[in-house]
């Protein structure tokens, strides 16, 4: 493989890994925010415990989203300097805005939320998780603005050998943006809710003596999964018309990925439509072991479908990096050799791959420990001593 192929592989691996974590982050953030809101106003202890348990899984998962995201951000300039040279004036603006006004705020608010338990006043602490959610979706919006420009380079004209931005509004109203963003949001709602349903099923199987906690979690997640199903399927089909207009023939080259994604999507849609509505009522499923095992098996599917969806979108763009304007081959950094890309590919894949495995291990450990042993938001040591049962004899 030459520098071009290796650079493509590097970007595909980093992006896929990134999205596996980000799709869960995007889905869990509003769910945790809803839990904390209900805990705040309802004052039920179980909702406070739900916020901390699912919040901790959200936070552990978040770490790898950052790690892979850092590498991705720099990869544009390192491996694809032809892109910033040719289209940086257009593509760079949404990227800059994503980091500056969305992720900068998100990261700052997240730090305040994680370390601010039992320190920042409750109402402000609740506001923080909503600000984290809002800025996370603002991030997704700007990234999709940048990505949609690659699919359909609106708002720009060729001046010499470079693109110039002439209509910023056209970037924000790109027909390839809205439907795809909605599709991603639906996918993340599915990812997060099937994780919560699967983890709860695991605890029902283990007979963890906390059924109220997992019934409440399942009910909320099932509601979101049912809604998410409508969102992901609706925006998915809506994209066919748009893509047919802007990138004709796109789906001919990615038929296999597309069919597999739609097969997974249809299975999840069947479950969301015909099974999950019954889980909104009662706790009849808590002892149905075969059914619980089936729910656990569903957990990886939204993630697999999400990756396939990205492959459809990005492989279907080939051989273009900026559709119809700049090929991938012309965008690769001229001064970067095959050996340089190979060494960095091995380094990034080994380090990020290992950290991803460790992160999933830690998520599973946090799941297994259950709601009784959560570090996030644990009361300070002195207060914990006071709350502990008095063993005075």
């Amino acid at each position: 493989m030459d520098a071009l192929e290796l650079s493509r592989l590097q970007f595909a691996l980093t992006t896929s890994l990134h999205f596996l974590f980000v799709v869960l982050t995007l889905g869990l953030a509003p769910l945790v925010a809803i839990m904390q809101t209900r805990a705040h106003f309802g004052r039920e202890p179980v909702l406070e415990r739900m916020t901390r348990f699912w919040g901790q899984i959200y936070v552990i998962n978040y770490a790898l989203g950052i790690f892979t995201g850092l590498v991705m951000e720099f990869q544009f300039g390192m491996n694809w300097s032809g892109l910033s040279h040719f289209a940086g004036e257009v593509f760079g603006a949404p990227l800059a805005l994503e980091t500056l006004v969305a992720f900068f705020l998100e990261s700052t608010f997240l730090g305040l939320w994680i370390f601010g338990w039992n320190r920042i006043p409750r109402g402000l602490h609740l506001t923080l998780i909503w600000l984290v959610t809002l800025t996370a979706y603002a991030s997704a919006f700007w990234i999709m603005v940048a990505n949609s420009f690659l699919q359909n380079p609106v708002g720009s004209v060729l001046a010499g050998d470079r693109l110039k931005l002439v209509d910023f509004g056209a970037l924000l109203t790109n027909p390839n943006l809205g439907m795809a963003l909605g599709h991603v949001i639906g996918a993340s709602m599915w990812a997060a809710s099937f994780v919560i349903i699967g983890v709860s099923a695991y605890h029902f199987l283990r007979r963890t003596p906390d059924p109220e906690f997992f019934v409440r979690s399942t009910r909320l997640a099932a509601t979101v999964a049912i809604l998410g199903g409508g969102v992901v399927v609706g925006f998915g089909y809506a994209q066919f018309g748009v893509v047919g207009g802007t990138q004709p023939g796109k789906f001919d080259t990615v038929g296999d990925h597309l069919s597999l994604m739609m097969a997974l999507g249809n299975l999840l849609a069947l479950v969301s439509t015909f099974v999950l509505p019954f889980m909104l009522f009662g706790r009849w499923y808590a002892r149905r072991r075969l059914f619980l095992r089936f729910l656990i098996l569903l957990v990886p599917l939204p993630f697999a479908a999400s990756i396939l969806g990205w492959l459809v979108r990005e492989i279907g763009r080939q051989p273009w990096l900026v559709y119809g304007r700049l090929t991938v081959a012309d965008a690769v950094s001229p001064g970067v050799t095959r050996e340089m890309v190979l060494v960095s590919l091995v380094g990034f894949t080994a380090v990020l791959g290992l950290l991803a495995l460790i992160d999933w291990f830690l998520i599973m450990r946090a799941v297994r420990r259950g709601p009784g042993d959560v570090a996030l938001g644990a009361p300070p040591p002195a207060e914990a001593d006071r709350r502990a049962p008095a063993l005075t004899f």
Partner: protein, 290 residues
């Protein structure tokens, strides 16, 4: 000529070094400052709540780089390829140390991730040495000199911060961290002076920036704002040396105007969010997540 966006770029660059400088300094000196697990917990908890709010300055800097200097961004990142690979790997390893260390209780697990914090912090320092010197055309030796100067400046900055965050039992700053902070100051000045030489040789017009950087390093024994300025001095000197070149390569007015429209109204919120971090964590947290 637009001055708002290049200024914002400079501000993000200086802010990153002033803020991450103390995280990295504490990470570098973790084995010296903390010999017991309890003390390592306290030391990492002293910087932990700031980590996300500090490192984000570099994410924003890189984003603004591509938006404001689109052509240079690709040239610099691909031109200094090995240094940026090292920077990213070190950054990820250092952050993994912070995020993962307290997730398991075994001492071996915690020692492993403490080693990741130390190794990652050292790698970050050296990578920045090569990037800042490489940006002005420096070679291997210049990179090492820059890296050594940064290490001393970060050490002075981080230990000074830690000394004030870890009060001694009888009151006053932590004696060990305080002593290390005092001892790091002289090497910081000398090494910064050494690293300034190639800057002036490569860019004779940049001598005021180099002189100011060395002068700033003299502040490395003082209060937090002074050590913060000292930690940012080498980056600001490189920025100063390259400023005429940077200004000649900004994006078109249409790009910068669009970015201004969205970003400038939100700058006060970003400043407020950062201020909130410093206000909320002005005293150490009782139970840290990192």
């Amino acid at each position: 000529m637009d001055v708002v966006w290049p200024s914002l770029f400079g501000l993000l660059l200086a802010g990153y070094f002033a803020l991450e400088g103390f995280d990295i300094g504490v990470g570098l000196l973790l084995p010296v400052l903390a010999r017991t697990p309890e003390r390592r917990d306290r030391l990492i908890a002293a910087v932990g709540p700031f980590l996300l709010a500090n490192e984000i300055w570099l994410v924003a800097l890189a984003g603004v780089f591509v938006g404001v200097f689109p052509v240079l961004e690709g040239e610099v990142l691909s031109g200094l390829y090995p240094a940026f690979v090292a920077l990213l790997l070190s950054w990820v390893v250092r952050d993994a140390g912070f995020w993962f260390r307290l997730r398991e209780k075994s001492p071996a697990w915690r020692r492993t991730w403490e080693a990741a914090v130390v190794a990652g912090s050292a790698g970050l320092t050296l990578s920045w040495g090569f990037i800042l010197s490489g940006a002005i055309g420096g070679g291997l030796l210049t990179g090492v000199a820059y890296g050594a100067a940064l290490a001393a400046l970060f050490a002075a900055h981080g230990t000074g911060f830690a000394a004030r965050r870890l009060p001694a039992p009888g009151g006053g700053p932590d004696p060990l961290a305080g002593a290390v902070a005092r001892r790091a100051a002289l090497p910081a000045v000398l090494l910064t002076a050494v690293a300034a030489v190639p800057v002036v040789l490569a860019h004779p017009g940049a001598w005021p920036a180099a002189v100011l950087a060395v002068a700033a390093a003299l502040l490395a024994t003082r209060s937090f704002p002074a050590t913060a300025l000292a930690a940012a001095a080498p980056a600001l000197a490189t920025f100063g040396a390259l400023l005429p070149y940077l200004l000649a390569h900004t994006a078109s007015a249409s790009t910068l105007g669009a970015m201004s429209l969205v970003a400038l109204p939100l700058l006060p919120f970003m400043a407020a969010a950062q201020w909130w971090v410093w206000r909320a964590f002005r005293t150490p947290v009782a139970r840290s997540f990192f």
